[in-house]
């Protein structure tokens, strides 16, 4: 067997293992986002939404759907990789990978693909849930929608990987999601357009990277956005390159993985 085939087999093995992992615990991984998002749709969409009226010319619930899908994709991609990679470190089963001939890039790709697959699956589940509350949904730009979905889940899977590399305890894998990711997502235009903010807060919001992710996805789904799409896409790709390079550097050095 050629070395390329060997690497392909090892990579698909790791991806299969990662997918089996979160499917095995589907009650913890797939059901909660569906339940939580249903509550968001009921409370903010159906109950409070009609009183708010429109946002950027759209029904409030319609405006909110892309944001909530993206919020689920971000948190689940991140959570999948950070918990999975930290667990293999904690259980020492990372040794199974390190003693094998798998190259570092394949190890990274395997974990990231696990996060991407969960992110996309959750995104699809939340979209299906949203159809119960807003059945007449037309996707404005399917290609852009899928592209942003994939890029975003890659980006946040990589972030989760870096978090796991440096984590020394289970506390360390919950600090970033709780105190950094969640506030940035909530303030990143999931529930509102930054056009309704005063100038100063609008300017501050422009520094929030979540704003670009959420709005690019909203452009794909609804055709409306508060930011420049080419700029946002370029930034997402740039950060993917930077983070992937950092992950490979840390794996090569053995940071957090080798003594």
């Amino acid at each position: 067997m050629s070395k390329n085939n060997e690497i392909f087999v090892s990579l698909t093995t790791l991806i299969r293992k990662e997918i089996k992992r979160y499917l095995r615990i589907w009650v913890q991984t797939l059901v909660p986002p569906a339940v939580t998002m249903s509550l968001y749709f009921v409370i903010f969409g159906s109950l409070i939404g009609p009183r708010i009226g429109t946002m950027d010319g759209l029904d409030y619930i319609q405006f909110m759907i892309p944001g909530l899908i993206m919020m689920s994709v971000i948190t689940n991609s991140y959570a999948n990789v950070v918990s999975s990679f930290y667990s293999v470190k904690f259980q020492k089963s990372i040794e199974e990978l390190l003693i094998s001939p798998m190259p570092n890039w394949a190890i990274l790709t395997g974990f990231v693909m696990g996060g991407v697959s969960r992110g996309i699956l959750i995104g699809f589940i939340v979209f299906c849930v949203s159809l119960f509350f807003y059945p007449t949904f037309d996707i404005a730009n399917p290609v852009l929608t899928i592209l942003v979905l994939i890029l975003t889940s890659i980006l946040f899977s990589l972030m989760g990987f870096i978090n796991a590399i440096f984590a020394d305890s289970f506390d360390d894998i919950s600090i970033i999601p709780t105190f950094v990711l969640t506030p940035l997502i909530y303030l990143g235009g999931v529930f509102y357009s930054i056009n309704i903010l005063p100038d100063i807060w609008r300017s501050i919001s422009m520094a929030n990277p979540m704003l670009y992710v959420v709005n690019t996805f909203r452009e794909g789904m609804l055709g409306v956005s508060d930011v420049s799409i080419p700029f946002a896409l370029s930034m997402i790709v740039l950060f993917i390159i930077i983070l992937a390079s950092a992950c490979l550097f840390f794996l090569h050095r053995g940071t957090g993985t080798r003594q």
Partner: protein, 305 residues
Amino acid sequence: MNQFALEITDLKKTYDSGVVALKGINLTVKEGDFFALLGPNGAGKSSTIGIIASLVTKSSGKVKIYNIDTDENFPDAKRILGVVSQEINFNNFEKVIDIVTTQAGFYGIPLKEALYKTELILKRLGLWDKRDEQARTLSGGFKRRLMIAKALIHEPKLLILDEPTAGVDIELRREMWDFLKEINANGTTIILTTHYLEEAEQLCKNIAIIDHGELIENTTMKNLLSRLDVQGFLLDMDKSLESPPAIANFKIALEDPLTLNVEIKKDQSINQLFDQLTEQGIKVLSMRNKSNRLEEMFIEMVNKK
């Protein structure tokens, strides 16, 4: 068989904490050997194995596995290396069969072939009936067997076992010894670290002892054991004695009224002892080593250091 399975040259390791684990180890293990790497806790055995397996980053030095320099081509070296770590290192919530087939996959073995190989190795190690059980439900001994199954799934030429029988009962330990002897006889080079020195004495042809990060002995097991000056034996008698019999040139004490504790020097004949005992009307029912010979020597060497 004229090449080295493992060559270690001036291997040094200092951890970030400042602890110097290895101070420049030089070691070679011949192809086909069954080699014991011994040393007290914290001597540097696991650091050495960790470096060979790429779980620990070396500070300096060279490691070659079957003449493949790990600095130049670690993936190729890993393809012929199997490692059984000291601590359990699989996901306890996965099924036994999944753990082994996944490990095979990491070595590039396609799923169909991996399932076939897994069946063979699990049957050989008595784990096939437990293939669908989660690893956490296995006893300590079966977990150890699972570790060995994982390490052998890609048929390595060099197998390193870091205390594989720790916490394993005697019966299972003997079964594992037989299994290891068999795969060694079939051509797999084995390096073993263990705290059971009887295990090393039973299995290994050559031995190295590490202490405080330095190699203090590297020789054949036969040569090492031949250096023992005095051996202690316990002799069980058919009737009790109030005091030990006086026999010229032999140091004898009563372990208990029915057991004699005898020290025999290397150049003394045991026949002389038995002749004298027979003359005094003492009948010996059985005889055994007072303690493991290698253990005595090991303690002596480490203490000297």
